[in-house]
Symmetry: D3
Subunit: 159 residues, 6 copies
């Protein structure tokens, strides 16, 4: 029922067969590897933030060093989570087409979840959410390469 409604809606938006890609840019060079790299950085930074020891006393120089390191870790976590989010959303809005939605009916939810996890990783210092994000990106990786019938691209981590 709902699927049919979605189909009808999609037909209305894209009246002719989508022969030309409506992509943002250079078709064919999408690769979820970038989202994976950013997410690995989020995991790594979350760990480092949790491990960093505050100085024993309020010594100005010790505080300066502690806060410099902490601020940079937080800032890098923020940026990398934001970039992961952007890469994930580019795939959703530009690579994936209505025909993929028919194949993967939970496509929207998969991406909504992944994007919301990116935001969680910014708002919190939460290793579990960072690792859930990495798992979500791995899922995206699998679906993506499956739609391209590519079996030669294995999942690996740089860290």
């Amino acid at each position: 029922m709902v699927l049919r409604q979605i189909k009808t809606l999609i037909k209305r938006w894209f009246p002719t067969p989508v022969a030309h890609a409506h992509c943002d840019g250079p078709c064919g060079v999408y690769d979820p590897a970038t989202a994976r790299i950013y997410t690995e950085a989020v995991v790594s930074m979350t760990r480092k933030i949790l491990d960093l020891q505050p100085p024993a006393d309020q010594n100005p120089q010790a505080m300066a060093t502690y806060l410099n390191t902490m601020s940079r870790y937080i800032q890098i976590k923020e940026e990398q989570a934001q970039k992961a989010k952007e890469e994930i959303l580019i795939l959703w809005t530009d690579y994936f087409k209505p025909q993929h939605l028919e194949q993967y009916p939970n496509l929207h939810d998969m991406f909504w979840k992944a994007a919301k996890l990116c935001s969680s990783c910014k708002v919190e210092v939460n290793l579990q959410h960072a690792e859930e994000l990495l798992a979500a990106v791995e899922e995206v990786h699998k679906v993506f390469w499956a739609t391209k019938n590519r079996t030669d691209v294995s999942w690996y981590k740089a860290s």
Copy 2:
């Protein structure tokens, strides 16, 4: 059926009632007005691009002036459509929560359509798609303020 699956998935991701916003930033200051302003610029730029006359001959200075103006129009269209897309996606990923999806089951499609129209407005010089984007943003405006029970915010255009 599909709705139930979605619900189950959502329950798994967000096990406790989402009392604290998982938003990216300053809760309560979301406003689709920014997306509307960017989209108005897209409409305006699309019109100006279509109206610009190429020089009658290949005179270097006339070509330089024509291309300077044209390049800037195209660049502004590109930037504004990109910013509209970002604003639209911030609402989707950060403002809207699972309970809104229950209320508006076509939420994902509404945003997917709007985001894809932003990309179309970049790829093409197409006044119809620019105006469909403005209509899509108006729809987002209505749903957004409805979820906040605000009836005092009227839809207007700056141009």
Copy 3:
């Protein structure tokens, strides 16, 4: 006297009647609403920063969470104040023309004050200055729409 000097200067810079807009981009789509939204975020973030409680002891994880939240609030305040400043200055440098200066002789001071308040809101954690900035933006809103003879655009807040 000074007014006359200003006029003479202006005449020298813009020898012919300014029939074509010297604007940066898409004429007709200026809207102080963006500056208002950014400023609302500054007010909101200033409040949240002042309300945030440091952890009772120097527990590493509690400090990490506190500093993650605090850093993000400060960063968002910074960004939003910067964006408010940019929007305000675009209006001053691109929308407002010499004829508006004749109508509003304190135009320069109004904008200088507003821009300086943006900087204050970055440098300080000062709720009074944040609210003065919001008032300054409301003043800009009024002058702006008055110059366009638009009476249908009411001032509202999203938060």
Copy 4:
């Protein structure tokens, strides 16, 4: 008269003697040299744009090369003029204080003119305006270093 009004306004905004700088960032490291460098690039790019010859016929490869070069020149002119504008406005909003306005009553107009010239240099391909901008930046250079009683910083051009 007007001067007095301005003074009164300023007093109201800044009730105590401004002992602490309300600057955006690292006080003491302002230097109009950056605005000068960006403006030199605008002058250089404007010249190159005007000198570039369109291809004799519509040969695809010749057109591609011509448009690649032209687009880059236009884009660089745009960016450099934008950065010159930002540097100029940082000086106006953050370095210059009310006491400077008393010393240089045409301060606001000097900066308004310079900022508007930046916009003109973007909108047009106009060597005269580019050179007027360079002269305006030289004027800013002189006033700036005079307020710091520095006589050792000479005006030079990199190109």
Copy 5:
């Protein structure tokens, strides 16, 4: 001889064994895959630029469509080449350490060449240089993973 001078210089800069990484950010998450993806986009865009046919006549709408597509291709080529350059330089300045230079004495030249090729790919529409850049990135990929003793990361292309 020269090698010895270099060694001496390096010893002077880094007097103690470099036990702590002087990296810019999240150690261990470097991955040349990003540079590869950006470079693939440069190759793809160069091809598309060379293939795009100018309109037969100066019809305004045909010109608008042609220039919109061409401008976007050029802009994407520019951005992706710039990002490839940034990724390449992060590896050179932050990942690679003096001990790697001893192992790979042509390290500096390898990176200088790669960075200069990025600039060439911006300045020109030159498929040969784009492909040379891809080869240079593949070389970086090999050296990088060799220094990490990782043999499981194979070179693949997304396009």
Copy 6:
């Protein structure tokens, strides 16, 4: 020996005499002054960070003010060091050509050192490294202007 290898390599990359500049943008407007200004800001911010006193107790408002100031100082240090790095690398990758390397065989090391010092200034709060960076930029300034046979550009500091 090594010099000869380098020469051979260079000849292979750039087979014809490099008559046309392979620069990124507006040739002739390079100026190390920008790197110097950014570096002065890094020195200034490092000093301010080291001088800032933490509040005596954990009073929320005092902590908020302290962290707002500290975060901004750290952020400005980060940004300015990053911009200094970018300016330095633009000179290395775009201004300097193989013939300069023959003249200055330690060119690569000079720039590698300078770029690595930028990263150190981000990672640490270290006044000595900040001053070493300023010295490195002064060295770049001297080499740069020497290659242009300009003796009229003196080294000065804005702060």
